[in-house]
């Protein structure tokens, strides 16, 4: 049984049912948010930390959520921002260049780090790591989550036209990478 967002938000407004509403929200969206983050940071432990940070922010700010936007696009926006902030910090902390970070991240793609993909799936992840972070977010939301460009626009605050161009460019880059490294 899928619980409507409006029900969750209504329950959250009431102090007595706030925790219940939050649990309903978690049950409905935690996996989506987790996979959105995981595809960006690749590592499970990092994704685990980030998903908790995201939902703590959601708890703190849900009372101020304006219902003119969809709840899940708002959640995706928080998660996307957290991912970009995390990756930038990681680059700065490890003092690695933009070129070196993809190598470091793909080195972790093995069974110990909860990755079961075959060689071609690993290559696809390597191809995705060549994309700028925002372009990768666009690709992931469109390709894996089947989101509409309008919904992605609500998440990232970018125009639909720009998102379409960004997505097609990402597809071309990935295809080129897959061909060139065969």
């Amino acid at each position: 049984m899928v619980i409507e967002d409006s029900v969750i938000l209504q329950k959250f407004e009431d102090e007595k049912t706030r925790h219940e509403a939050f649990t309903l929200l978690l049950n409905k969206y935690q996996q989506k948010v987790y996979w959105h983050i995981r595809r960006m940071v690749l590592n499970h432990d990092d994704a685990d930390d980030l998903v908790q940070d995201v939902f703590i922010k959601v708890w703190k700010n849900l009372a101020n959520f304006r219902q003119d936007a969809q709840l899940y696009t708002w959640l995706y926006r928080i998660a996307s921002n957290e991912c970009i902030t995390f990756l930038n910090k990681k680059k700065a902390k490890n003092n690695v260049s933009l070129d070196e970070l993809p190598e470091q991240l793909t080195d972790n793609l093995n069974e110990e780090n909860y990755f079961s993909g075959d060689a071609i799936q690993k290559k696809l992840q390597q191809a995705l790591l060549t994309l700028p972070e925002k372009q990768k977010l666009v690709f992931n939301m469109k390709y894996y989550d089947d989101m509409k460009f309008q919904e992605i626009s609500d998440v990232l605050g970018t125009s639909v036209g720009a998102l379409k161009a960004s997505y097609h460019l990402a597809v071309k880059k990935i295809e080129h990478y897959l061909l060139s490294t065969d």
Partner: protein, 191 residues
């Protein structure tokens, strides 16, 4: 329908990409999502507790009026500011300038003071030593001084052995009338 068109377009545009299974290659530890809700709820409770432990309070409406208060202070400071001008970067450079002048002055005075004392002390020692040596040498080289050091018996013995007629005028000059008489002189000469 639109989605199908998009998929067909994608297959044409990127056949290698679409050939790869969309199946999720990432995994999670066993039972991860079963515990995730509980974990996040615990974190939320901790956050609430931490927020509650902040017992500091502000007066009612403090933050609403803070903006105005700060602006008023800024305006007041602007009014207090005088109309005198200073050269560009005066205050920025003043610290460096003062430090430079202080360091230079103190260095000079220290050097002069130390050298004066050293030189003065050295000069005194040198002067005293030189003067002492000079006086000593001068005094010790006089005939009177050197003769006074020779015992009287040795002088008498020397004169007895080496006196000849040419010494007579000098001996006569040296005769102290009060102490010697002609008789004494004659007696000694004949001996």
């Amino acid at each position: 329908m639109k989605s199908e068109d998009e998929n067909m377009e994608l297959e044409k545009e990127a056949p290698n990409l679409t050939a790869i299974s969309k199946e999720n290659a990432f995994e999670t530890p066993n039972g991860y999502f079963n515990n995730l809700t509980e974990q996040i709820n615990s974190q939320v409770k901790i956050t609430q507790l931490v927020a509650k432990t902040n017992d500091f309070d502000t007066p009612a409406g403090y933050f609403e009026n803070l903006d105005q208060q700060i602006q008023s202070r800024v305006s007041l400071d602007n009014l207090k500011a005088n109309d005198f001008n200073v050269p560009a970067n005066y205050f920025a450079d003043s610290q460096k300038r003062i430090q430079n002048s202080v360091i230079t002055k103190s260095k000079k005075s220290n050097v002069i003071k130390l050298h004066f004392i050293r030189y003065a002390a050295a000069a005194c020692i040198l002067l005293t030593t030189t003067l002492g040596v000079y006086i000593n040498i001068k005094h010790s080289t006089t005939v009177d001084y050197q003769l006074s050091k020779i015992p009287v018996q040795e002088i008498e013995s020397y004169l007895n052995q080496h006196t000849d007629g040419s010494d007579l005028p000098m001996l006569i000059e040296s005769i102290d009338d009060a102490n010697l008489s002609i008789d004494d002189f004659e007696l000694e000469n004949t001996n």
